[in-house]
């Protein structure tokens, strides 16, 4: 069989997202990742919940299961436990994954079952026509919050970290170079890989991430972290993140100014949970962290689940029927 191209992972179904939706580029990145990784369509399953993001399985030429609102991690858990040979991907959104399905996301992450969870975060309910979501920023005006929302939003990566996630990454929808590479690493990870993708809902929350993703300023508003590399960013590559020992928070410093040298800048350690928390907590004027923010090895649930189980059927029913308190009335 010849190698499959990303086009081989497209279905014959008409894609029904709004023109210009960030989901198109995520779909393309997913298809590229599958092709580049030599995925077998028959051994790959995409499981989704409800929402715009959750339509994605219909457009990927693999097995796919579009389930019910919020429950994709639970269905995917059943799929993976029943057949651990499968590559199982979960596609969800900020409403599906963090509101109605928050409990399942929490437990998938803490169990560390071998799933790749892609959370498309557009900070809004798109499919139900634009209500504010659990990641919407305070003051978001929407049909259900005409005077501006006042819920405190949740930060998806911090939620995942709190749940004990073993792999946390963040990416931008339109990053066709970086996103496939990140998804490939997520797929290579044993355990639950959680990837938050900042996704632009051009109808109900247009350009809400512009402060982070705008091409003009991205070099200064994003930091792409690499394990073992110093946390340096900026158009001139002269900005770095340093730990302020007094506040126990990260601060941005300019290398060369005020006697700051590269040695003052923190080096990224993706196994360090404290650093992950600091990176995920950053708000402007600090840059938003992108890339693999946290990655550790932990026991994988599906492995443990099958490890001590006898494989195949050893006990026969005819014997099991005779366990317990017997009374033999057979003649002779």
């Amino acid at each position: 069989m010849s190698e499959l191209s990303f086009k081989d992972f497209a279905t014959d179904q008409e894609v029904r997202w709004c023109p210009g939706c960030g989901d198109y580029s995520i779909l393309k990145a997913v298809q590229r990742t599958l092709a580049a990784g030599g995925a077998k369509p028959e051994n790959t399953v995409f499981v989704s919940g409800i929402g715009c993001s959750s339509r994605l399985p219909y457009y990927v030429e693999t097995y796919g299961f579009h389930t019910i609102h919020g429950r994709a991690p639970a269905v995917a858990t059943g799929v993976k436990l029943a057949n651990p040979q499968l590559d199982v991907w979960v596609v969800t959104g900020d409403g599906d994954g963090l509101s109605i399905g928050g409990n399942h996301l929490l437990h998938a992450l803490r169990r560390n079952i071998d799933l790749n969870i892609l959370l498309f975060n557009n900070e809004i309910y798109g499919l139900t026509k634009g209500q504010y979501s659990p990641t919407s920023r305070p003051g978001t005006t929407s049909p259900s919050s005409p005077g501006g929302s006042f819920d405190t939003p949740i930060e998806p990566g911090l939620f995942a970290l709190g749940a004990g996630a073993s792999f946390i990454a963040r990416a931008v929808d339109i990053d066709q170079k970086g996103l496939p590479l990140l998804l490939a690493q997520a797929n290579d990870h044993s355990g639950t890989a959680f990837v938050e993708i900042l996704q632009n809902c051009i109808v109900y929350n247009k350009d809400v991430f512009d402060d982070v993703v705008s091409k003009k300023t991205a070099a200064d508003t994003q930091i792409h972290v690499q394990n073992g590399e110093p946390l340096i960013y900026g158009k001139e590559r002269n900005k770095g993140l340093r730990l302020n020992a007094a506040t126990l928070a990260l601060e941005s410093v300019e290398i060369g100014a005020d006697d700051v040298t590269e040695a003052d800048v923190l080096v990224h350690d993706e196994t360090n949970t404290t650093l992950a928390q600091l990176l995920l907590s950053m708000e402007a004027p600090l840059p938003a962290a992108m890339g693999v923010i946290h990655r550790v090895q932990k026991p994988v649930f599906n492995t443990s689940f099958w490890q001590n189980k006898p494989t195949g059927r050893r006990a026969k029913v005819v014997d099991l029927l005779r366990h317990g308190n017997m009374l033999d009335r057979r003649v002779g």
């Binding site: 279905t11 179904q13 077998k40 369509p41 028959e42 051994n43 790959t44 399953v45 499981v47 989704s48 409800i50 399985p57 219909y58 030429e61 693999t62 097995y63 796919g64 299961f65 579009h66 389930t67 019910i68 429950r71 639970a74 269905v75 858990t77 059943g78 799929v79 993976k80 436990l81 029943a82 057949n83 040979q85 499968l86 409990n103 399942h104 929490l106 437990h107 689940f305 099958w306 189980k309 006898p310 195949g312 059927r313 050893r314 006990a315 026969k316 029913v317 005819v318 099991l320 029927l321 005779r322 366990h323 317990g324 308190n325 017997m326 009374l327 033999d328 009335r329 057979r330 003649v331």
Partner: protein
């Protein structure tokens, strides 16, 4: 139900009662085993509070266990105990209403202190105030005697008191001339690591037994012998409903050559099934304890999608949470078994008390037109066959199936003639064979089942979901005609289950007079009541439904041959509504929701009032 000295009955009813921490259930189970080994038929009723160890001595902390055993066919735990053994004043007070005059009451007289009487809300001591005059009361210093027996083994007074359930068991085994061997063996295994506890319990068991031998002088206590039941020449075993259901699921998996994945969330009284199956993992079942009821059914659906048979289990409140996902399984045409161990409701209701009030929920309780087959177990042992039949339907038609059982069935036990498993028909599945071609949504014209194609198979790569799908391709479809066609298909699929059901038969009795129609765990009481009325010459018959959706095809015709239909139910009239809905049958209802099983005597009263005539009169017409 007096216990007459020198007069042996064919069967006896004994009720053990005490604090929930007194080991009452264990005592009952041990008596059950001894009774089975002595050759009696039997049925049991554990009746315990929801609290694990409620404050001692209180009425709400009373735990009880009732058993009927004897030489005739036993199908219920009995209406009224011949003997009540009560460990404290609260246990006596709570259980007194179950007794009729003449019954024997054995009490631990050490427990009838001022303080404990007060704890039981008793102003006066019933042993002294004359309130028990119509019963035969036998006060014994069970606590003192237990401590004396346990003394040589070096346990403290509190620890040695823990053996009093075995002391009382010893006495009851003597009273009904039952063997002690199995209990001795059980104690030796259970307490193998703690010699003192082991020896104290063995000594208490023997001391209770010896006490009986000498008690005739003190109390006029006389040993009662029970005839052995007539057994077929096969092997028997005792088992609870939860055990039978677990075995039935394992058996269904073997018959279908399909592994099962059991996904559930703890809930009373359904958890017993999870515990049973967790011990059967070398028999083709794996168990997954999910984070909630919704995740439990969703992971079961995921397992079914991936080629194992997903099974989930709960009680009414949990089934309510699973409802949306049941709809997903219907929409995606996946096999799934949902077991509901019903309990008294609504909401949390009475978790440890039995009821059969989730029939509406099972048959009707979903959004949209979402029919699914419903099967019900009638007794603990019947769970074995109903589990197999429910799985057979799920796999044959590619549909979720609800299996209704209840708290009584799950925990009660009975003696079961072990079936010849070789004679069970294999269960066919819709899995594609190696030569299969064509689409996933080609359906069997008889069963309407689609192909059970699963990930890993390169021939059948497809997407599926809860959105309405095109009837042929499975792709998303919002077409008007297609939704009509899919709705028709879902209706026809469940209707087609009836083509495979055996015709409904009479359990016993004659056509023409009164039909007593029931379902679920009332089987045993209805059997006894109808049986006795028949022997008294009444034109009555018993019809017991295993299949509630769809109903057996001949049921309407069968019921039309009776003058009157009586439906006794432990709910407010749900089967009566269902039969009126499906068959336009009017019925007399007998509805009881007390958290207790149906009684034989109370049902007979209703039969007498409604049965049109005696058979003798029929022959004169």
């Amino acid at each position: 139900m007096a216990l007459q000295p020198g007069q042996d009955e064919t069967s006896y009813v004994v009720r053990f009662a005490g604090d929930s921490g007194d080991g009452i259930q264990l005592q009952g189970q041990q008596f059950t085993v001894a009774s089975a080994l002595a050759g009696h038929d039997l049925a049991t009723l554990p009746d315990f509070p929801a609290e694990i160890r409620a404050p001692t001595g209180t009425r709400f902390g009373v735990s009880a266990f009732q058993i009927q055993f004897g030489g005739n066919r036993i199908t219920t735990p009995g209406d009224e105990p011949n003997v009540l053994i009560a460990f404290n004043p609260a246990a006596l007070a709570v259980n007194l209403p179950h007794l009729s005059p003449g019954a024997m009451i054995i009490v631990d007289e050490n427990a009838f202190t001022q303080q404990r009487l007060k704890r039981a809300d008793l102003a006066t001591n019933p042993l002294e105030d004359g309130s028990l005059n119509e019963f035969t009361v036998i006060p014994i210093a069970i606590s003192d005697l237990t401590q004396q027996a346990a003394k040589p083994f070096g346990l403290g007074s509190k620890d040695s008191l823990r053996s009093k359930n075995f002391w009382a068991l010893g006495l009851m085994l003597w009273l009904f001339d039952q063997p002690r061997d199995a209990s001795r063996q059980w104690i030796k295994i259970k307490f193998a690591r703690d010699e003192a506890v082991r020896d104290a319990n063995l000594a208490a068991l023997d001391a209770g037994h010896v006490y009986g031998e000498t008690a005739e002088l003190a109390h006029g206590l006389v040993q009662h012998k029970t005839p052995q039941a007539k057994f077929d020449a096969v092997e028997y075993r005792t088992l609870t409903g939860a055990e039978a259901l677990a075995l039935g699921l394992v058996a269904a998996g073997e018959l279908a050559d399909t592994e099962l994945m059991f996904c559930s969330y703890p809930i009373t009284p359904a958890s017993a099934l999870l515990h049973q199956l967790a011990g059967l993992e070398d028999a083709g079942v794996s168990t997954f304890q999910a984070e909630d009821e919704i995740a439990a059914i969703c992971s079961a659906i995921g397992a079914s999608y991936a080629g194992k048979l997903g099974v989930t289990s709960s009680s009414g409140p949990g089934i309510a949470l699973k409802t949306e996902a049941i709809g997903l399984a219907v929409a995606t045409e996946l096999p799934l078994l949902i077991v509901n161990s019903q309990r008294a409701g609504p909401s949390t209701g009475m978790p440890t008390k039995t009821e059969q009030s989730d029939l509406y929920q099972a048959v009707y309780g979903r959004n949209a037109d979402t029919p699914i087959p419903v099967v019900a177990s009638r007794s603990p042992a019947d769970c074995f066959d109903t589990a197999i039949e429910a799985v057979r339907i799920a796999l044959r038609h590619m549909t979720p199936v609800i299996l209704l059982t209840d708290g009584y069935i799950a925990n009660a036990s009975e003696l079961w003639p072990i079936p010849d498993f070789e004679r069970y028909a294999p269960i066919a599945t819709a899995k594609p064979d190696d030569a299969a071609t064509g689409g996933v949504f080609q359906r069997n014209p008889q069963t309407h089942a689609r192909v059970w194609a699963t990930p890993g198979d390169a021939r059948f790569i497809h997407r599926i979901g809860g959105i309405e799908k095109d009837i042929d391709s499975g792709n998303i479809s919002y077409e008007a005609d297609n939704h009509q066609a899919m709705t028709d298909l879902r209706r026809a699929k469940v209707a087609s289950v009836a083509d495979y059901l055996p015709p409904q038969e009479l359990e016993q009795g004659v056509v023409g007079g009164l039909a007593v129609v029931a379902w679920g765990s009332t089987y045993g009481a209805v059997y006894q009541a109808v049986n006795q009325c028949l022997s008294e010459g009444y034109t009555v018959a018993q019809i017991h439904l295993r299949y509630l959706n769809p109903l057996p095809a001949n049921l309407g015709e069968l019921l039309a041959r009776f003058d009157r239909v009586l439906i006794p139910e432990l709910n407010d009239g749900q089967l009566a509504t269902l039969l009126r809905d499906k068959l336009l049958i009017d019925s007399v209802q007998m509805n009881k929701v007390t958290g207790q099983p149906l009684g034989v005597a109370e049902l007979k009263d209703v039969i007498y009032r409604n049965v049109p005539r005696k058979m003798l009169e029929v022959s004169n017409e």
